[in-house]
Symmetry: C2
Subunit: 228 residues, 2 copies
């Protein structure tokens, strides 16, 4: 885990499995190679951030951005997990999970119904980012994670906005992916049952951009929106 935020991971390198990144079931679906993990992370922009508050788990959806081997999350300086990441030395233990659903898997048997999906689970310690340059790069990455190219086509954050925003970072070190693909795995004795069986593909679909009601005339939707 020597990669920095500026250095691409060596090709073919994998994350080292640990006790908590080896799943207790469906181990054949686990992946540890960086290429798979990065591809799953890069296709999304919403993660589910888990942390512990007063001994109980909390899971909140939030945006993320990836730069190299670091995930960045942000929020108001008043938000609870961000405060905790700053207050707690040496940081806030978190689990960040990103999930894409690719298909509904309908088997003949109710039991073998499943989903095709790709997910990444990152365990680690989130720490507040205080370096101003890193904070700016992180906030750009968060915007570009949602719409690639957008950060360069918007007004950069002002000093006041930067001061109101907390940024936390989580190193990609204890990481696993889980991937299910393919059709249903029915038992051989069920194959002739009179139930349809197969996969219904699922993917996010982006609609035509809706301009803001107060958009100044003559500003067309940018070309990068067509890439979504």
């Amino acid at each position: 885990m020597t990669a920095t935020t500026e250095t691409p991971a060596p090709a073919g390198a994998s994350y080292e499995p640990t006790d908590r990144t080896v799943p207790s079931r469906s181990r054949e679906r686990a992946r540890y190679d960086r290429e798979t993990v990065h591809a799953i992370l890069d296709q999304g922009y919403v993660c589910h951030l888990g942390f512990v508050r007063d001994g109980a788990p909390v899971v909140l959806p939030t945006l993320y951005g990836r730069i190299g081997e670091t995930l960045y999350l942000h929020g108001s300086t008043g938000s609870r997990p961000l405060l905790a990441a700053g207050r707690t030395d040496p940081g806030l233990p978190v689990c960040v999970t990103v999930t894409h659903v690719d298909g509904l898997v309908l088997a003949r048997s109710a039991f073998h119904h499943s989903l095709n999906y790709r997910s990444v689970v990152v365990h680690g310690t989130a720490r507040q980012v205080t370096d101003e340059d890193e904070r700016r790069r992180a906030l750009d990455a968060l915007v570009d994670q949602v719409v690639p190219g957008r950060s360069a086509d918007s007004r950069p954050a002002s000093a006041k906005e930067l001061a109101a925003t907390a940024v936390i970072r989580l190193d990609l070190a204890e990481v696993s992916a889980k991937v299910r693909t393919g059709g249903p795995n029915d038992d051989p004795e069920d194959l002739d049952l009179p139930y349809w069986s197969g996969v219904v593909p699922v993917a996010p679909a982006y609609g035509a951009p809706v301009p803001a009601a107060d958009l100044a005339p003559g500003i067309a939707a940018p070309a990068y929106l067509a890439e979504l």
Copy 2:
């Protein structure tokens, strides 16, 4: 919180806010009415289940089914959280979160970029379901949550399959929703900046069903798939 799994919630009833269901920011987006919460839950089938293991948070994607005021989750009897829910008296403290992304909100300023989304966060204690009738109903609900009507059109679980499946339940008691809708909230002084601003709608799209390679001839895709 007197509703049972068999009784619809009284119309207009709301969940009682608690310390941990009142967000620390964007409170105007919080919702506590059952109608909103149920609608968000019923539109999805994947949740992110958070629990604490060895003092650290764990967040895993998994399927759920709702029956009345109860969420059901399932897994192999060997899976860690399911084991913990059975072992721990009086159950496993969990947080279950369901999130739908409805739109990418592009503001003139990087700072005001956002998402339109609807999410539900449920705090509580998950308990293993041991009653066989409730377990069967729960597993049907899990299948029907993904594809309404499907449980009646598949082979029911055998005794062996039931024995291999752990089911946990989580009462909808400490619950909140969070909803953002509408366009970007740019600052007035940014309205004339030369950046496109608006919303890109997002929604899951379902493709044409792909029959299993070994599907017996003459079985057409069922009509309920067209309702997805």
